[in-house]
């Protein structure tokens, strides 16, 4: 590793255990794993920007939870606009 320098970082115990275990199993030095992982991470973020990723977890506030709960407990009737919209799938041939 040309021009190597030292870094220090606080990581979770599980991340440290993963690093130790992978290094022991693969025989690759921890410094090499960290360096490669960093490059992979930065390159992947450049390849796929933040704006292209859909967050998979929506955390609702208490107010939001109450609204969802109410809708699930008493689902609203389909509005006429929704019924019309779904019918657009039934005649796909012509505008």
């Amino acid at each position: 590793m040309a021009h190597a320098t030292q870094i220090s970082a606080q990581v979770s115990a599980s991340a440290k255990a993963l690093l130790d275990e992978y290094s022991a199993v693969s025989g690759i030095k921890k410094s090499r794993i960290v360096e490669d992982a960093l490059w992979f991470y930065v390159c992947s973020r450049q390849e796929l920007p933040e704006s292209a990723i859909v967050p998979a977890r929506l955390v609702v506030s208490e107010r939001g939870a109450a609204a969802v709960e109410q809708r699930l407990a008493q689902p609203p009737q389909a509005t006429s606009a929704l019924a019309r919209l779904m019918r657009t799938l039934e005649s796909p041939d012509e505008d």
Binding site: R57, V59, A78
Partner: protein, 174 residues
């Protein structure tokens, strides 16, 4: 004029000329939608096609609704486990095809996909990331605004997250 057919985006589909009026949506389709779908499996895009040309698209992803971590005694109501939903994250129509109802058909197609997901794997509702100018359209369909603590769309200007239970969509199909 024949309506554009809607189906899952394929690698050979031509999106090079797609222009919806927002370059960020054009770029997503042309550069990231395919890899999100076929390499990372984090979202699926359904394309409306005029011949080989993509003239509209809708991107959906399986997500979950969870509630803020609050004291257990104050948590009646919503179950503690996450609720699976289909998130309609992006919808765009080429400028030449705008005003013909294609956006609505793409939304309806995504809702029909959500019903299939419900039958195949479980799904309780649809969440749309509605552009601020489209909030009224989704409200007319029965959607309500979701008060999110986190998990907002990264798109700018920030869309409004809105929710509709799938039982309403199923009722609309009867």
């Amino acid at each position: 004029m024949a309506k554009p057919a809607i189906r899952r985006l394929l690698a050979g589909d031509d999106s090079s000329a797609f222009r919806c009026g927002d370059p960020e949506y054009d770029l997503f389709l042309q550069r990231y939608a395919g890899q999100n779908q076929d390499r990372l499996f984090v979202g699926t895009t359904y394309a409306a096609l005029d011949g080989p040309r993509v003239v509209g698209y809708v991107t959906v992803a399986v997500c979950q609704i969870d509630r803020e971590d609050i004291p257990r005694q104050a948590r009646p109501g919503l179950p503690r486990y996450p609720l699976p939903v289909l998130r309609l994250a992006r919808l765009a129509v080429d400028e030449a095809f705008q005003g013909r109802g294609l956006g609505g058909r793409l939304a309806a197609y995504a809702f029909a996909v959500a019903l299939e997901v419900r039958a195949a794997a479980g799904c309780i509702g649809v969440v749309v990331d509605a552009l601020p100018t489209r909030v009224g359209f989704y409200a007319d369909l029965g959607f309500i605004e979701l008060d999110l603590a986190s998990g907002h769309s990264p798109i700018r200007p920030q869309p409004v997250a809105m929710f509709l239970p799938l039982s309403s969509v199923a009722a609309a199909q009867r």
